[in-house]
Every structure is written in C-alpha cells, then in structure tokens.
Amino acid sequence: MNAVVMNEVRKGFYVDSVALMRISRSIGRLKQVDEASLMMGTPANREIMADAGLLADEGAAAGGGDLVIAVRAENSAAAKEALSTAIEQLQSPSQKFASGEEWTPRTLRSAVSAFPSANVALISVPGEFAAAEARKAIRLGLHAMIFSDNVSIAEEIQLKREAQSLGLLVMGPDCGTAIISGTPLAFANCVSRGPVGIVGASGTGIQEVSCQIERMGGGILHAIGVGGRDLKSEVGGTTTLMAIDALASDPDIESIVVISKPPGDDVAKKVIERLGIAGKPAVVCFLGSAALPLPANVLQAYTLKDAAAAAVGKGFEQSERPGLPTRSGGIAGLYSGGTLCAEAQVILRDAGLPINSNAPIAKVAKGREGSYVLLDLGDDEFTRGRPHPMIDPGVREAFLIEALGRDDIGVVLADVVIGQGAHSDPALPLADIVRAHGRRSGPIVISAVTGTEQDSQVLSDQESKLCKAGIVVASSNADAARWALAVAGRG
C-alpha cells in the first residue's frame, strides 16, 4: 500500500470527542482519503490510531492535551488537502443554532403539556380512531370537535355521556362546521360578529344560515355543531341541549337558531321545551318536518333562509325574482351540500312535485332517476375513495354534463359552497362546464353561493364568475330552488 499517512498536532487544543468524531467522519469521506481521525493524543487514543494505521511520528509524540489530526490518503496532495479541510472545520464552529428539526407533539397528551391553555381538540383522524382520540381529549379536559365520520352511534353515546358528566361538549362526530366566538373551525365562513347563536346538526346548514344572516346584515357569535345524529332518539340531543343552555346563559347572545333534520319526536319535544326555558327569541328549522307545537318565544322555519330571517327578526319574505325564461321539462339538482339538497327538496316537495333523491327527506321518494331529481353528491355512495365535492367539485362534473344534455330537463340546480376548508375556486369548474356543455335551448342553470365577502374565495368574485357563464345566480339556496320552480312553470 503506498498510501500516505500524515499527522498534524495542535498543542493544547481541546475539542470534545463527539465533535471530533463528526469531523473525522466528514474528512474520511473526502475523495482519495482512506481514513481520517481527530483525537486527543492520550496514550489510549494513540494506540487506537496506531492500530488503524493512522499514526505518524508527529502524532506519536503528542500528549493527552494535544489534538492529533491524522489522515491516510492515496497521495500526499489529498492528505494535505484533508488536513487543511479538517482544520478549517475545527476553526469554523457551526453557525447553526436551534434550527434543527422542529419539535411537534405526536400525542394529544404531549400537545396539552406544550399548550396547557388549549380548550378544544379538533379531531379529523380516520373514523376508526376518532372516538379514542376524542376520549383522550375529554379526559384531558378539552372540548372535542369531531370532524371525522364513521364513528359508531354506541361510541358517540358513550363519549357524549362522559363529556356531559365533565361539563364538556362533544361536537360531532361528523361535525364539519363550528364558529366559536367568531372564529370559524373546519368548514366555516368568515361571518360578522353579532348576537345570533346557532346550534346545528349539519355543517352546510350552519354555513347557509350564517351566510344568510350575514347577507341580511346580522352577525354570529357562536355556531355549535353537534353532529348529524345528536338529535336521534338514541343520542337524545345531549350536545344540542347543552349548547342551548350555554347560548341561553351567554349574555351576548340575543337569539338562538337550531338546525337539524327532523329529530325523533321525543327529542324534538325536549329541544323545543329547552328553548322555551331559555326564554330568548329562538327558531327551529327541522328540514322537512311538519308543523310542531311551540312556546311563545320559539318560531319554526321550514327553510334555512327563513331560519336566518327569523334569527335577525325579519319576516319570511321571498326575494324579488328576476325575469326568467321558462322551460318545459324537469329539474335536476346536483348538490355538494347535503343540507342544501334537503332545503331544495322541502321547496320542491311543498310545491307538489314528484321528486326523487338519494338522500330523501320525509315524503320524498328514494331514487337517483326521474325528471325531478335532487342529488346529494357528498353522500357516501359518491365519495367513496374520493374527496367530498366541497373540497373537489370533480365528483359533480359527469352528472352536470349529463344533465345539461338532457332534453327532459328544464333547470339544473347546482350549489357553490365557499369558506374555510372548501375548494379554492369552486365557481370556476362549474362555470367552465356550463360554458362548454350548455345549449342555447337547453336547461337553465341556477346556482347560489354559500359564502361571504370575507371568505378567501370572495362571494362576489364567485358570483360574477357564474354570471359570466350564463348561470342565474340567486342570493340564497332557497331562492335558487324557488326560481327553478318558476322556470319549470311551477312557481
């Protein structure tokens, strides 16, 4: 072996052995360098270097307080180069400080210890794990907002009971929307602060009502999501009742809105009773439900828009309708928001139309076919393995193209939901498809945007994109459905 061994000794130069090993490793990796070692020149270290074939005379003469830089390289130029690189590294201490890997907690428990003033856990892990995380959150003293779905009803009941005994809220599972003190959580809109408090079993329901309130000049302080099953008899409205009590005792809340699918009779009765006890003006909107007996301070609204109007003390008025052409044929509704689909069903059903829906409300037939069909495209049957249409409107594309080509359809209804969590520009793909596939004498497309000017997608920008594509834009989902009736000659 004609390798060159070269040593350099720094007298009285102490460097920590770990630092030296790190430099040794980087020098050892240089081209044409066989091996390198930086060690303090203690007898034991000199022996190690000798055994490794790295010790030259200079190094052999070093003392324990001296630093030995030893290299073995293919030629003397490489050895010299390695020595000088080592010295360079020794003399330029690292500039890096605290810029290492940032620490993030891996468990709720350590997150709480890092952020002890936290008061709510927003849980969006896969459903099979969500209940366990929520249980941990509750036991750590946190309210839980469970965005995840696929949590069993048994687990939901257990969680809500345990939370209730601790005075904590379980919002969800399958709770997409909440606003706490004006702060939107998960899928929610930036609405002005105001004296309205909402309790909602449905995310898009809360979104539409809060955005309608905004349009009417009102504002929201809290919107408490409770999850789609809270008002089922088995769950008994645990979270809804707790939320009503909280809004009742909050001095900044002047009126309360409760939004849900029609609850079990027993639960509906309890909710209405509790609103009666609360004493503040209140409105219940159980989409699709028949008229219910009510105490004096409680109104019943049949659409989300009317619920918003009641909450801000306005009457149930219909907005002025623009001049619309008429079309023979049916109505196809293609919704990304499930509750928006339900609201449209209420309006079409009450107009006496024979509608079908994959997610039918009371007295509506279940089905995906027919001339009057309203589809909830966010339903599991369409979203298995792909994102919800509010996140990725692509799910709607094929349905839209098909409907625009049908001769037996006069109106296509398509919602647009914006706000935090939603697609960054959902009006654009809708406008593009209508531009590409709309026909002069084909179906009229009517849409309404659920959103506000403060949302990052900007309500008016979205509306103008739709208008430019020839889409008729209503100012509420309910109006869009009513206008559809007018176009179809049923209004």
């Binding site: 770990v18 620490w103 856990a121």
Partner: protein, 477 residues
Amino acid sequence: MTGDPIESLLRGPPKVINVGLAGFSRDLSEQGVESVHVDWSPPAQGDPIVAALLSKLDGSSKERIDAANSRALDQMLSSEPVLIDVIPASEAIPALEPRRILHAGPPLEWERMCGPMRGAIQGISVFEGWEANLSDAQKSAEQGLFSFYPNHHFDAVGPMTGITTLSQPVMVVENRKFGNRAYCAINEGLGKVLRFGGNDDEVLNRLRWIRDEFGPALGRALRNLGGLSLKGLVARGLSMGDEMHQRNAACSSLALRELAAALAETSSDSQALTRAFAFMAGNDQFFLNIAMAMGKSIADSARAIEGSSIVTAMSRNGTDFGIQVSGTGDSWFIAPVEMPEGLFFPGFTEEDANPDMGDSAIVETVGLGGFAMGAAPAVAGFVGAGAASDAGNYTLRMKDITAGGNPEWKIPSMDYIGVPTGIDIRAVVETAIAPTINTGIAHRRAGIGQVGAGIARAPLKCFSQALVDLARRLEAK
C-alpha cells in the same frame, strides 16, 4: 380551567389542538388562532388487534392502571439511592457459586451468545480459576459446564457483556427509602476490557487488581464516608453536561472529589492510593456502573405493583432485547435486539458493530441516558445528522411515553424540566415511539473492545407483548 368549561370556551377565541388534517392547522394559524398541531399516526402502527387492546384497557382499566402507575412513579421518585460499599459478589449474591455466570440482558444460552459475550465468559472463567486457558473455557462452555443467569435475577446489573461471578467485587447501592439493594461491578476503563469481550492477560490482570486492591480500597473509603448519596450528585451531573450513559465525565469527577479524602484516610499504602486515584481519574465512564446500580435500586422499588404498566427493566444481551414491567412481575418480554446507530472509532465501520448489548439501559429506565439527552447536547451528535441543538427534542419525545417528570433531576437548558421518568408501555405501544438508549458499540468479535458509540432503540414488539400480558392479568382479576 376555572368555572364552567363551556362558558370559558365561549368566552374568547378557541385555543385549539388539531389532531388530523394539517390543513385545519394552517387555516387556524392564518386566522391568528392559537393552536398546536399533533403529528398524529394510527395507534400501535395501525395494528388493529393491539389498537383494540389499547382502547379496551383505556375503557375498562384506565383508572386502575393510572393509579398503579402513579404509585410506581412515586416510588421511583422518592427513592434514596446511596453507594454504601464494595463487597465480593459472592457476599452480595449468595446464590453465586463456581461456574455460575451472570450476564447482561434476558436469559440466554451459550449457543445463541454473540462473540463478545462468549469472549467475556472465556475470560472470566480463567480469571476465576475454573479453567486453565481460554480454549479450555470454550470447550467447557460448549459442553454445558457453566450455568448462565441474567444479572437482573439477582438484583444486579452490568454494562455490555455485564459478566458477574463470585469473586468480582461489586458496588452496593442501597435504596434507603425502601431498603432494597442493587449491585454492579466496577467499571474497568476504556480500551480492551472484559465488558466488551476482551479476555487477554492485560484485561484479566486489571480485573485481579480491581479485586485485590482497588475494590477493597473503594469499599473502605465508602464505609469511612458513611456512603455516597447519589441523587444530588446526579442532579449536579445533569447540570454539567452528563446524561449518565454515554457521558459520565462530570459525575466521575464529582465522585472522585467526594471520595478523595476518604480514600486517602483509609489507605496506608501511598503507591496503592496513587494507583486508585490514577485509575478513577483516567476513566470518564467510571461513574457509569454506579449510575447503573443506582438505576437498578430505583427501578426495583417500582417492581410488582399490580396493574402497573411502568417498565422496571430494559436490557440487552447482544442477541435479544428484553423488558420487564411492574404489573407483570419478573416476566421478560423479548424481541431480537437491534443494531445501534452511531459514530465509529477510526478503523471501524458499521460492519464491525455487535448488536446492542448491556444492562446499562437501566439508566434510561429511570429517566437518564437517552431520556436526559437535553442535558448533554454533545451526545446528540452521535445519531446520524443530529445537531446539538436537537438534543432537547430527544428528551421532549420521551415525555410522550413516560408517566411524569423527575422534580429533582432537571435540565437547566430546557427551562429546568424534569427528566421524563417511568416508561409506560401503553404509551410506547400507542405512539410507536421507542425508548431511545444511548450506548457504546462493541466489536462483534471478542476481545477487540469498543468501536464506537451511538443510539439504540428498544424494539416495539417487547412492549406490545408486555401489554398483552398485562391485559390478561387484569382480566384474570
């Protein structure tokens, strides 16, 4: 939280812990909402059976386990370890007899032992006079003429090969709070040593000197001193850059300072005293074996608490990694040991490394070593590209899997947080965060010695097995 929790939630902007979709976290920070994102992954690495077991334990036995763990932690934290004496192993452990050999790690037979372990056994049998030479020793071992037991079965621990036999002197640490004792042989220094499988004359002569001269001298000094209290010493060491596993420079110095006068006072032979001082002063790791006996005396105080999921021993024998858990008594939960990752001395590479070995992980069991990495930033450099500024992250990570912090052992540079103590197997299984163990790396062949140092991770399988057994025992009650 004061008053009604719902009222206090609605009083101001929410303070959110986000578990799941990272997008929600970004939305929150864009709005200026205070939030912390949890880097969540499925519990038990997505193993549905273990996850179901975890959640079942969480439902049915949580209070019981928590209460048992809090007792285990209290006992560990209230321990009062004192180094009181050095005595022959035969006196400390009466069960020792000729040809009976204690070793590191869980039980192991000769056939499955790694090179250094075999080398150390050959060496010790010559040292004890059982065999004339190393090759006779090997033959006897192959013929089954020795019996092997883990140190842990006899209140003892030993670093690396961890060989303990009857005539070796052992240091005695007494836990004065609970009266239990733990034993560990004296650290031989660096270079060629028995604990790395070294077995030539140099190694055996040093052991003889320790047996005949140094051990008794240290014992006299400790008796004269009335014992060396360890808790405060370790606290000072933590503030001086030691983590008590890879780095014992401060504590070794502090111990020498505490012992110097007593060593001098009890010695009438100035040559022997000089040798004793030189030996201690020349070994930065002198304190490691003291820290280990201390760790053992502390961890044993938490043994056999029904229902407790706190680890009482982690140990490796170069072939297997084993743990013991308070609520499952003396059962071992074993998985193949992993290779340590680290930096190597000149002339050596990963290929020379022996798998992880030694009882020394007892220091991690009580919150030191890898768990106290934040106290010893220099040591963090041993793992891959780890920067010194990352040291604290190792300690923070271990908080995720421990029952509490030690209020007496604090890390000044981390705003005086207490070292994370009391490894909870539930948390290890749930988070899949393996305990980090700082370790020396031995050559895979006997007799060569230490070739590097680095970090080893406890195999997760040990912890899930232990959890299954704990659940079974809880159910049987």
